[in-house]
Symmetry: C2
């Protein structure tokens, strides 16, 4: 019998926000959907007692997140050196709108974010590493990994992959219009939401691209 | 005689990347321009020895960055409790393009990022706090703070502002096309860049907005 994954992640002390608790979500589907709509995350770790936050690509495969980098890069090296792994916080944020209230105080942002706490470990299994690297390419442009030269032995050796399991994780989101105080409703200020979207433009071929190579379907469909 | 600010921030052990050093920048103008083009940052701090990364609004005023939050929120509380302030890392990232190389290995992202290390302190001066709060609103929508009700005494008391000085800071960026290895140039894969931009859409008035209030000029000009 297949093990049935629970529908929601368990809330912990770290994943229950101190403020705006009603915006927190733990259901698996929503967490995955916010993660999968992004490809850049902000990865936090501690170095010499101080926080470091770096932007990096990530991909999700089931309940695992993967990030990669040169074997010489700081967090990757640290995850390899530290025996029990590297404590990280991986955060993904989408901005959906600017919320302009009548009062400065009630100005806000419509957003969807996911915060993952856990310990990242270097991936040592060759098959898992290849799967993760393919996922990292396909997470940015679905279909791309099959349409590029896979990593060779030298490139694989130069690339480290970290895995972070989705366990202590929560989403937080805000949507909708401004929430002005009743006594402010008659103030003479425009109020509403300015939608914010991310847009992929027309692909720009490399200067040295052979003219006989046409734009593949998985790219033509995106814009 | 006025003190002339140096044109560049001093590089430190923490702001010299271990990889891709040629992408690092320290000049003040470039750092400010990347910061000012964003309004959401990822703020990292250490809690119980583990990293925490949260998205939050920020604004720059000269060589100071400001973030704000409820006096009850975690980092704001921590900055107030910890006598010498709260060690933070504040990171801002813009994605400008997806770089599709012929090899999976050389896939990349065109981006501009800024990483700020330092100690954040609660702002206690009332004038500085007001200036910071106005800047936080105007950083998202220039001109907006003058066109909304300013915070009253109760709201000011409920809001904490943290200041982080720009001192240990660096920018990192990548632009341009793919850098394929010479032996890959004849591979039959499409290669180039997909531009990525952030877009502000048509403002959506709140349902309870008085119809006589027209869209102000500073909003009409943005989309």
């Amino acid at each position: 019998m297949e093990y049935a994954m629970p529908d929601a992640y368990e809330a912990t002390d770290r994943t229950v926000p101190t403020r705006a608790k009603e915006r927190a979500r733990y259901d698996r589907e929503q967490v995955h959907s916010i993660l999968d709509a992004a490809y850049v995350c902000h990865l936090g770790f501690v170095r010499d007692g101080a926080p470091v936050v770096l932007p990096t690509l990530f991909a999700r495969v089931d309940d695992h997140l993967y990030v990669h980098g040169s074997t010489g890069s700081r967090p990757l090296r640290m995850a390899g050196e530290a025996d029990p792994g590297l404590d990280v916080c991986l955060t993904v944020t989408h901005v959906d709108g600017l919320v302009l209230a009548r009062s400065a105080f009630h100005h806000s942002i419509n957003y969807r974010s996911v915060v993952v706490h856990g310990t990242a470990h270097q991936v040592t299994d060759a098959t898992e590493k290849r799967t993760a690297l393919d996922a990292l390419v396909d997470h940015v442009v679905p279909g791309r990994s099959a349409n590029s030269r896979p990593a060779n032995a030298k490139e694989l050796a130069a690339t480290a992959v970290l895995r972070l399991d989705l366990s202590e994780v929560s989403a937080k989101l805000r949507s909708g219009g401004p929430n002005d105080d009743p006594e402010d409703l008659s103030l003479p200020y425009w109020t509403g939401v300015i939608p914010v979207t991310s847009h992929r433009g027309t692909p720009i071929p490399a200067a040295d691209l052979d003219e006989s190579i046409e734009l593949p379907g998985y790219l033509a469909a995106q814009h």
